[in-house]
């Protein structure tokens, strides 16, 4: 294929991408779709997937798959794993994991170190893309020009692309619908291209499996990794790729910065794994046909070489465009994400110091160029000696070093900044020692000493004598294991970092600062958000705007000029101290409560004991009088057998009367005891007028005996109450009235508000003023009775929710109220 034609095709494709991005910019709502979100996540599938997977499958068999199985596992928990991060990102306008580390652990070296390390750690990954495009171009054009020259041109073109699409404005938290649509478009192109290449090869060359099965030297490609070390490498790759998917800056950019709608997460949880499954379907057949038919060819180029072998240069060109799509999408988004990391955490504090913050956008564009040139440099130094997947995995292990600080920070309150920093530094050091430096040494750029280590126990690819693990698995397990252990261990033994104190300021001053630094549009957006908010919240919003554009450290410094410490800014510290002493205080409070309950119970017991003594005294006193009479009468009858019949009859009648009095007394006491320990009232629909009639008829004999006329004035009333208790109250009140009346007793029943009112009136002398207070106390009688009737009546009435009281005025006038209740409405409605 002519280089000119190839270059023209490449430029036309890039032009098409540019048009797609422009169209996306003009229709931002089109990108607000869960499909676009899922396809933008496919920026994960890079040239490594498109070209390198077939290369890996052709040399190491099934181990190309764990890279996608790990991502699938993470996606299954995506709605919750990422939902929390999305909420944080929306509130604080986070642009990277480094921003999160600053937010979580406070200012310190961790976030800038993480930012710098991610740039260095991802250079192999970016170099991989440059190598892929350069290799593909030279292969299809049959040119033998030095690989490096094409890679440099590619790096410069892609830097330009990233600058044009990603840095049109200063605020990196602002969404770029055009960029997202271009990435989604490229995801479709690379999937279709790979499926088409696979279909073409299968149709024209046939099924490769029978031939591969007949070739014993290809059998390792069809079998699982052997032994414990092979299984460990498989599981490690699954875990490593899952962590990398979560922590790669470009994935954060497309999943969090560009895609902020949590409703898109559930669909991505199945659609993206489906995408990964489909794009991997043709890999093995291509790898096998490559090994069978192109034994001398670079396995990373099988995807391009096989269509040519099948006699279809157009499909080969389409495969080239697929590879370009995979590489450009990754390079543009990763370059943009890394430039934001660089500018927010490393450049902007420097620019602020030298009063050159206004040139930050220029510096961010230069950072993209710098990242590309550094990737090119890595490619020149080490890239030509490595396969594509090997280079990518070194970057994956680098990115995984963020995992303990980031994930523990997200889900474990006990993680401290010191612990996170200790773990991260140890992890980075071990990554460099076990993977990065040996790679450079293997390329001849560093001394071979970096491949051997100073001592056999410190061999970079077999620390402490570990043998049998491949370098990636070894480097991953050692660096992440130590990183995790230190993050956990140091966090357990260090104090939690004090959170930053809040600031407060006037909205107008904050808006003015934002206009000066970020421009009028941002200030207007801030004013819209901050309208009506208190000073502290407005300052938080302004800090979020500044932080997303300039980095959290610079944002805080700028904010100091227009804000002051918020009242209660030290509250977090106080809360921390309060939390520490919370258990002690809770214990003391529990003790106080128990002590109060004990004292109350003691007082209650004392009162009950006193009441019991008084009752015993009163009962004994009441029993003594009739008992004395009974005894005296019995002694008289016994001592005087000669008493006349008339006298004997009189004494016997007196004896019976006193015995009856004793019996009544015992009954009253029993009733009192039942009241103290009796069951709860049993409420039922009750006709109060009928009940009053019944009480009158029951007391009729006593009234007749005493010559008392019973009168009534009863209004028909119904309620929900305990019929027997109401009757008992009425009987007690009527009996009491009949005992004191001269000639008549009147019972009235009428409604009064929400109550039924019984009035029992008699024409007796009434209750003396001095006795009104104690008339309802037990054993207080004005008529020589037991003195329990009124007491019982009041207690029964109170148990029903009513009252018994003495009305003012001439004669005796007792009132008794019962709440008027209706039955509950039918709960089923209607």
């Amino acid at each position: 294929m002519s280089p000119g034609v190839l270059l023209l095709g490449l430029l036309l494709y890039l032009g098409l991408l540019f048009l797609v991005a422009l169209w996306g910019e003009s229709r931002p709502s089109f990108t607000q779709s869960p499909w676009i979100y899922a396809l933008s996540l496919a920026v994960y599938a890079t040239a490594w997937t498109f070209l390198g997977s077939a290369g890996r499958a052709a040399t190491e068999g099934a181990t190309f798959l764990p890279v996608y199985l790990g991502a699938t596992l993470v996606l299954l928990l995506w709605p919750w794993l990422h939902g929390r991060l999305l909420a944080l990102a929306r509130t604080h306008r986070l642009t990277s994991w480094a921003d999160f580390l600053h937010l979580r652990y406070g200012p310190g070296p961790l976030a800038p170190l993480a930012a710098g390390f991610l740039v260095v750690g991802l250079l192999p990954y970016l170099a991989l893309q440059l190598k892929a495009i350069a290799q593909a171009f030279l292969f299809l054009s049959w040119e033998k020009a030095p690989l490096a020259d094409v890679a440099l041109l590619t790096a410069l073109l892609l830097a330009l692309f990233a600058i044009l699409f990603g840095t049109r404005r200063l605020d990196p938290s602002e969404r770029h619908p055009g960029l997202v649509l271009a990435v989604a478009f490229e995801s479709v192109v690379k999937l279709l291209a790979l499926l088409l290449v696979g279909a073409l090869v299968l149709l024209s060359l046939g099924n490769p499996f029978p031939r591969a099965q007949a070739e014993p030297h290809l059998h390792p490609l069809l079998l699982p990794p052997e032994g414990l070390s092979g299984h460990l490498a498989w599981v490690s790759l699954v875990a490593l790729s899952g962590l990398a998917f979560l922590l790669l800056p470009r994935q954060f950019h497309v999943a969090v910065v560009e895609g902020q709608d949590p409703r898109h997460l559930p669909q991505a949880a199945w659609a993206f794994p489906l995408y990964l499954l489909l794009i991997n379907l043709p890999i093995l057949p291509l790898a096998l046909w490559g090994r069978l038919l192109l034994p001398g060819e670079n396995p990373d180029l099988f995807v391009l070489a096989l269509p040519l072998l099948a006699g279809s240069p157009p499909v080969a060109f389409l495969a080239f465009l697929g590879a370009v799509s995979a590489a450009t999408a990754m390079v543009v988004v990763e370059g943009l994400a890394l430039s934001i990391l660089l500018s927010n955490h490393l450049l902007s504090p420097l620019l602020l110091r030298y009063r050159a913050l206004g040139s930050l956008l220029l510096w961010r564009r230069l950072a993209i160029l710098l990242v590309m040139l550094l990737a090119y440099l890595y490619f020149r130094l080490a890239g030509e000696a490595h396969a594509l997947v090997g280079m990518g995995l070194i970057s994956f292990v680098a990115v995984a070093q963020l995992a303990p600080a980031a994930l523990l920070g997200l889900y474990w309150k006990g993680a401290t900044g010191t612990g996170a920093l200790a773990g991260f530094l140890a992890g980075v050091g071990l990554w460099a020692y076990t993977l990065f430096l040996p790679t450079l040494a293997r390329s001849g750029f560093l001394s071979p000493l970096f491949l051997e280590g100073p001592h056999p126990l410190l061999h970079p690819e077999g620390l402490l004598g570990l043998k049998g693990l491949d370098p990636i698995t070894h480097g991953f397990l050692v660096s992440l294991g130590v990183n995790l252990a230190l993050t956990l261990g140091v966090s357990l033994f260090t104090r939690k970092d004090a959170p930053l104190g809040g600031r407060t300021g006037e909205v107008a001053a904050l808006a003015s600062l934002l206009e000066r630094v970020l421009g009028k549009e941002t200030a207007e957006a801030f004013l819209k958000e901050a309208e009506g908010l208190p000073g502290t919240e407005a300052a938080q919003r302004a800090e979020a705007f500044l932080s997303s554009a300039l980095g959290p450290a610079t944002a805080r410094l700028l904010l100091l000029s227009v804000t002051e410490e918020a009242p209660g800014a030290h509250r977090p510290l106080l809360e921390e101290a309060a939390r520490e002493s919370k258990e002690v205080r809770a214990y003391a409070q529990a003790l106080e409560r128990a002590q109060a309950e004990l004292a109350e119970a003691y007082e209650r017991l004392k009162a009950l004991d006193r009441a019991k003594d008084e009752l015993l005294w009163a009962v004994s006193h009441e029993l003594k009088t009739p008992l004395t009479a009974v005894r005296a009468l019995a002694e008289i009858l016994a001592a005087h057998p000669d008493l006349s019949e008339e006298e004997r009859g009189r004494f016997t009648a007196l004896l019976a009367k006193e015995a009856a009095r004793l019996s009544r007394l015992v009954e009253e006491v029993l009733r009192y005891a039942r009241l103290q320990t009796g069951p709860a009232p049993r409420k039922e629909p009750t006709d109060l007028k009928a009940l009053a009639e019944e009480a009158l008829s029951l007391t009729e004999p006593l009234a007749r005996e005493r010559g008392i006329r019973l009168e009534r004035a009863l209004t028909p009333l119904f309620t929900h109450t305990d019929r027997d208790r109401v009757l008992q109250v009425l009987l007690n009140l009527l009996t009491n009235a009949i005992r004191h009346a001269r000639s008549r007793v009147r019972l009235e029943l009428m409604p009064k508000g929400q109550e039924a009112l019984f009035r029992v009136l008699d024409d007796g002398p009434g209750v003396p003023e001095e006795a009104r207070e104690r008339i309802f106390e037990p054993f207080q009688s004005l008529s020589g009775g037991m003195g329990l009737g009124l007491y019982l009546a009041r207690r029964l009435a109170e148990g029903l929710g009513g009252r018994v009281y003495l009305e003012a005025g001439e004669g005796g006038a007792f009132a008794f109220t019962v709440p008027l209740e209706v039955e509950d409405a039918d709960p089923s409605g209607g």
Partner: protein
């Protein structure tokens, strides 16, 4: 749904990280395809299907 998603995650983790070398020792399986890849792509498709059933909108 959170519990179901976690259960699906555990199932997928189990399926993807089995000691494959103990289970797949041959190179030819049903339809002449390698059993290792048949299993891996089958398990993967099953997980995607279950995820679709779990996360699709009601």
């Amino acid at each position: 749904m959170k519990e179901k998603a976690f259960a699906l995650f555990l199932l997928a983790l189990f399926l993807f990280t089995l000691p494959l070398s103990l289970l797949f020792r041959g190179v030819e399986g049903p339809w002449g395809l390698p059993p290792l890849y048949l299993y891996l792509f089958g398990a993967w498709a099953l997980v995607v299907l279950l995820a679709f059933l779990l996360f699709r909108r009601p």
